[in-house]
């Protein structure tokens, strides 16, 4: 990224782009470069958590080196030997498996899905009242083309026994101390058998996965939050009960209410595991605080996505939400993917403008003008806004 005030030519009318440092949630966070990664915004060093700058969300596919990183326990895997790495499948199965990466690639048909991977707590830093937890801005999300073996094919190969209810997923990240709960997640057997897009991916945007994004293989659960997308996957167990260890309960739960929300500042009576993503859309260009030229057309750009119904419409407003008009949608890469959008806007007068974006999905769900609240800081999907100055 250039200096503040560098001239961008996109759309002609965009004079300058402000820096992310203007964002109170990102202020003070250093840009860092980790292995197989470009400059990302540091959230934490150990375990590593890195956030993708908003400038990468002007396009549908997030580059592997710009893809966000989120681990839960330390140490994280820093070395993987394919000579010894095996994906173990055991528990209530007829034929326990120990698959090498080669076997995973050759024994099962390769399947492809383009899907958004978004942290449950993406944008937590923007909650009001504020909540403790990882203070992400909006960059704990990314979209990639994943190729791998269908999870249901793997289960069929292993032969799921009568009475099996859930499947647990564990990765190579193992806490240093036995007292720290290992990061293990679970899905219902039916969730896997009913959905051919739940895969064990060994390829991300045509390349092996970066180690920090789950090399050599990770679970892909399209439409659902990233908490289920277990990285550096190594062990799959079929069980006959509902798995309720720490990262399923009390971790990663939302209020058991239709909106997944409660009155700000209050505690929910009951909770359920977080699952499907809410509808979101973002303006990547222009950046907050950008200066635009009066009477010159500016191309606004960004992405929209939801939990698997697909984006049917994106609307933008240049008057703080008083009036809305349709944006143009980019190529449809599938119902789990980021959908690019763009709109040309010409600022009529030398004043400040509040640009806003909202999306609608295939079943008519959209985004609220007021944010919903829950104590863990999940599911954020308020209408986003960017203030710019026309000169």
């Amino acid at each position: 990224m250039g200096q503040a005030g560098s001239l961008l030519l996109a759309g002609g009318g965009l004079l300058s782009s402000a820096q992310a440092a203007d964002d109170p949630i990102l202020a003070g966070r250093p840009l860092v470069r980790y292995p197989e990664k470009t400059d990302l915004i540091l959230l934490t060093s150990r375990p590593p958590q890195l956030e993708t700058p908003m400038k990468y969300f002007d396009r549908a596919i997030t580059p592997n080196d710009a893809f966000f990183v989120r681990y839960h326990v330390f140490p994280v895997p820093t070395s993987v030997d394919l000579g010894t790495w095996r994906l173990k499948v055991h528990g209530r199965v007829d034929r326990p498996l120990e698959l090498s990466l080669d076997e995973l690639k050759t024994k099962f048909p390769a399947t492809k899905v383009i899907a958004v991977n978004q942290c449950s707590g993406n944008s937590r830093g923007r909650f009001s009242p504020r909540v403790l937890g990882g203070q992400w801005g909006d960059g704990a999300m990314g979209n990639a083309e994943w190729v791998g073996a269908r999870m249901r094919d793997i289960l069929t190969q292993a032969g799921v026994r009568q009475g099996a209810l859930q499947v647990t997923f564990d990765g190579l990240d193992k806490p240093a101390f036995p007292t720290v709960p290992d990061f293990v997640k679970s899905l219902d057997v039916s969730r896997i058998m009913d959905d051919p897009d739940v895969i064990v991916a060994y390829q991300m945007n045509g390349q092996p996965l970066p180690v920090l994004n789950g090399y050599p293989a990770r679970l892909i659960v399209p439409g659902w939050y990233a908490t289920y997308w277990v990285k550096n996957l190594s062990e799959i167990e079929v069980i006959d009960h509902v798995f309720e260890k720490f990262w399923m309960k009390p971790g990663y739960r939302i209020p058991d209410t239709p909106c997944g929300c409660v009155e700000p500042g209050t505690a929910p009576a009951r909770t359920v595991p977080i699952t499907r993503m809410t509808v979101r859309s973002f303006i990547a260009v222009p950046a907050p605080g950008a200066r635009v030229a009066v009477g010159q057309p500016v191309t606004l750009k960004g992405i929209a996505f939801d939990g698997g119904y697909g984006i049917s419409e994106v609307q933008i407003s240049a008057d703080g939400g008083a009036t809305w008009r349709r944006a143009q949608l980019g190529a449809d890469l599938g119902r789990y993917s980021f959908r690019e959008w763009s709109a040309v806007w010409t600022p009529p007068a030398p004043t400040s403008y509040r640009l806003m974006v909202r999306a609608f999905n295939g079943i008519g769900e959209s985004q609220g003008t007021l944010p919903l609240w829950n104590p863990a800081g999940y599911l954020r999907n308020v209408v986003e806004q960017v203030d710019v100055q026309a000169v």
Partner: protein
């Protein structure tokens, strides 16, 4: 004989297929300086004890909280994550956090 053995050894070395890289390794940077806790009573204790398990940017990034909120965090570290903190240290660290990283204004 010895010459033959050496010759073969050399030839075999040259003709042997290159070993396929089976191992992928990365090296992670050390904790970033921005994680350093602000000075204050018991800051050294908090820095030492907390960074035993995680970098302290986990603390620095938070919006802040009162003694009740930070107390809940410290208790979670002990009860859920097994942090081996004495009662006195837990109390001192909670005081430090609530004073130095108090509730957002």
């Amino acid at each position: 004989m010895r010459a033959v053995v050496i010759a073969c050894w050399l030839t075999c070395l040259i003709l042997a297929p290159p070993a396929i890289a089976q191992e992928k390794t990365i090296t992670l940077p050390a904790d970033h300086a921005y994680a350093k806790l602000r000075p204050g009573p018991h800051s050294d204790l908090a820095q030492t004890q907390c960074q035993f398990c995680h970098s302290t940017d986990y603390i620095v990034m938070q919006p802040g909280g009162d003694a009740k909120q930070w107390g809940a965090v410290v208790t979670k570290m002990i009860k859920v994550f097994g942090a081996p903190l004495s009662e006195a240290d837990a109390k001192a660290i909670t005081e430090y956090l609530a004073t130095t990283y108090g509730p957002p204004k």
